[in-house]
Symmetry: C2
């Protein structure tokens, strides 16, 4: 079940990136892929952010170490079906060995390969299955395999997630294509999912880091399903320079397109949220600080009482006000708070709006996409996040995951 | 549905306290009570803590104001079925008017009456129903009506909640009897429930405040169902002095009995948690600070992924470690963490224990009462909290509350 999520459209190739995917045997179902290899042109720059969870998986530790020790990343090796988390030193060694397997076949240092894993926690990687699949992946690399890669990194996702956009800068066509996976345990701070976004623009390392940090905050760091965070997750931005067009983080057109790609990918994860029946946007306006605006939005988004009311299509503004009232923010005056569902004003200055009727609220609540807007009328800062409701299916999916 | 919750045993009267309850018409069902009056002897001392939610209900505002303005509280007037929250100035006035109605019939100042409400948010109190019921309540006051009062304050509770204990101090019998209500929206910081505990010990005001603050932290402030907090809730400790025995917060026997009464009441709320199928105790040991221990325990307790695994009787230690890894605490070394379910060691120094089998974990998970014990092996502080799992019924109850 997903909420208004559709299959990706055309995915434009990125000059300088080749991909291959296959079924290596990690997943039981032989009809689905579980191993993806991405080859990056040697002129590519790579920016990355990782989970902040202190219980982080072996591939996160290895990937961070490799990024620090070499200038040029040439391959990304991504497996689904096994998270290689909670696997101790053996897990670290296994993750390094998968990189060595690629290095041996390509004549590179293993540090120029970054490993990624997603799936079940606590089981060792089936190393032999992975290493024996690598020659086949290397011989099948192609610029046109983005969709197969999007499928190959899926776990509980109901659909592959990918976005591709182009625009002309100085008469040159610049392309951005990205894929991601994730449908539960979605929370900010990159503790969330796997995402690989590439552009053929030429961007130097420092500017690429700036670009990623900027857009990740208003996309993957602005979504939440249940407040839980994962052990494995990572978001990469790759610039190959294949278009010959140099850009930086001050280029408004480029940054707008990049933000659009990241936001669409992030929202696609929420639309595929575990057991989601509603797609909820929460806007907090006129807060004293951005941190206040975000904290308040997340307090509403994580409230099980608000989430179950959303599932029930019940415009229960009392639960939303109660969540606002307990948010740990620096400035709040309940008597100034305005609350809207889409354009319907439920609460004005902390009290039910005089023209509000349950019929008006219920009409909005019947929709699949709902906007909850809170105006604190106290400052000038705002924030927007996206989340889901809490349904029977959320409990079912998460209670029966391993059975 | 409740988890191992049984009806209260004998409730000893407290000399100096009389109670009455009735059906005033706030609730639709005429067979259940919805209004309770407690009369306190004029020598009584009263200590109180209230919700910290900034969106607090009218009776909370009024009760706090009355407590500040008079020395002696003589009556508590508690209605169920209507929270008088989100009701603005009219709600404040209505709350005051219920106190005036008691004051007029008793010749007291309205400030010596404390109002309390619990129930639906956003509707004005049916003032006439309440005020016209007061003469009947005043004429039915009795020392033996504790159980009826426990029933009269119920909302979604499946059973009345009450505890009564006695011990001899200096050959005098000292009694503590308490009632409470609450089955959802249970969170620390008194944003949780209504509780009224009385003793016939004689305790001066300052010492009574000390007693309440001490025991409330290890009882009502150590339980959580869903992290949400309510707008109305309050906890009162009343000392009538009726036994003639003077005690203070340094009296170990008395404090032990008081703590036992508070803990049993708090646990009864968790055992009646909305949709609960398991009663979970979370102990965090050897943390750097008490705040760390409590924060970590709450992060585990609020994780929907941990809660759904508990519902599924799945010993999913990966989800518990992931919750530990994201807890916002001052000191954590995942490689030192030990994790137990009851006496079964799942994780030792951050890795699966060598003798652990899923069979051992599953055996504990089948139980109705489960202990999750985390040893951080980093400091000397500890904390214990109580919570529930997250079931289909939690979603059902909270999604269909108003329908």
């Amino acid at each position: 079940m997903s909420v208004g999520l559709s299959a990706p459209g055309i995915l434009h190739p990125i000059k300088g990136i080749k991909l291959a995917s296959c079924h290596s045997g990690i997943k039981k179902d032989a009809t689905v892929d579980d191993l993806v290899l991405m080859e990056l042109d040697e002129k590519s720059a790579v920016a990355a952010v990782f989970t902040t969870n202190k219980f982080c998986a072996a591939p996160v530790t290895v990937a961070k170490s490799h990024l620090e020790s070499v200038e040029t990343i040439r391959y990304l090796l991504i497996n689904s079906g096994n998270a290689n988390a909670g696997t101790g030193n053996e897990g670290i060694l296994n993750s390094v060995k998968t990189c060595i397997a690629v290095a041996e076949k390509t004549g590179l240092s293993e540090c120029s390969i970054l490993p990624f894993s997603t799936g079940v926690i606590g089981a060792q990687l089936p190393l032999e299955k992975i290493t024996s699949a690598i020659p086949g992946l290397l011989s099948n690399l192609s610029e046109t395999n983005w969709m197969a890669a999007a499928r190959g990194i899926m776990t509980t996702d109901t659909l592959p997630k990918a976005v591709s956009k182009q625009l002309k800068i100085n008469k040159k066509t610049v392309t951005i294509t990205g894929i991601c996976k994730g449908s539960g345990m979605i929370k900010p701070d990159m503790a969330t999912m796997l995402a690989y976004v590439a552009t053929d623009a030429q961007i130097d390392q420092e500017e690429l880091d700036n670009c990623l940090n900027r857009v990740v905050n208003t996309s993957f760091n602005s979504i939440t399903v249940d407040g839980d965070t994962s052990t494995n997750d990572a978001c990469l931005l790759i610039a190959t320079g294949g278009s010959g067009q140099v850009v930086d983080s001050k280029n408004v057109e480029f940054m707008s397109m990049l933000n659009e790609v990241f936001s669409q990918l992030a929202k696609s994860i929420i639309r595929d949220g575990e057991g989601a029946t509603k797609f909820i946007e929460i806007q907090v306006e006129q807060a004293a600080t951005v941190d206040d605006a975000r904290e308040l939005a997340y307090t509403i988004a994580h409230s099980p009482l608000v989430k179950t009311a959303l599932f029930a299509s019940d415009a229960n503004w009392g639960r939303i006000l109660a969540a606002i009232g307990r948010a740990d923010i620096s400035e709040l005056d309940i008597d100034r708070v305005d609350l809207y569902l889409d354009e319907v004003c439920l609460v004005e200055k902390g009290l039910p709006h005089k023209d509000y009727t349950e019929q008006k609220g219920s009409a909005v609540m019947q929709q699949q996409d709902i906007l909850i807007k809170v105006n604190l009328n106290i400052g000038e800062q705002s924030a927007t996040i996206w989340t889901t409701d809490l349904s029977y299916d959320y409990v079912k999916i998460n209670a029966e995951y391993r059975s």
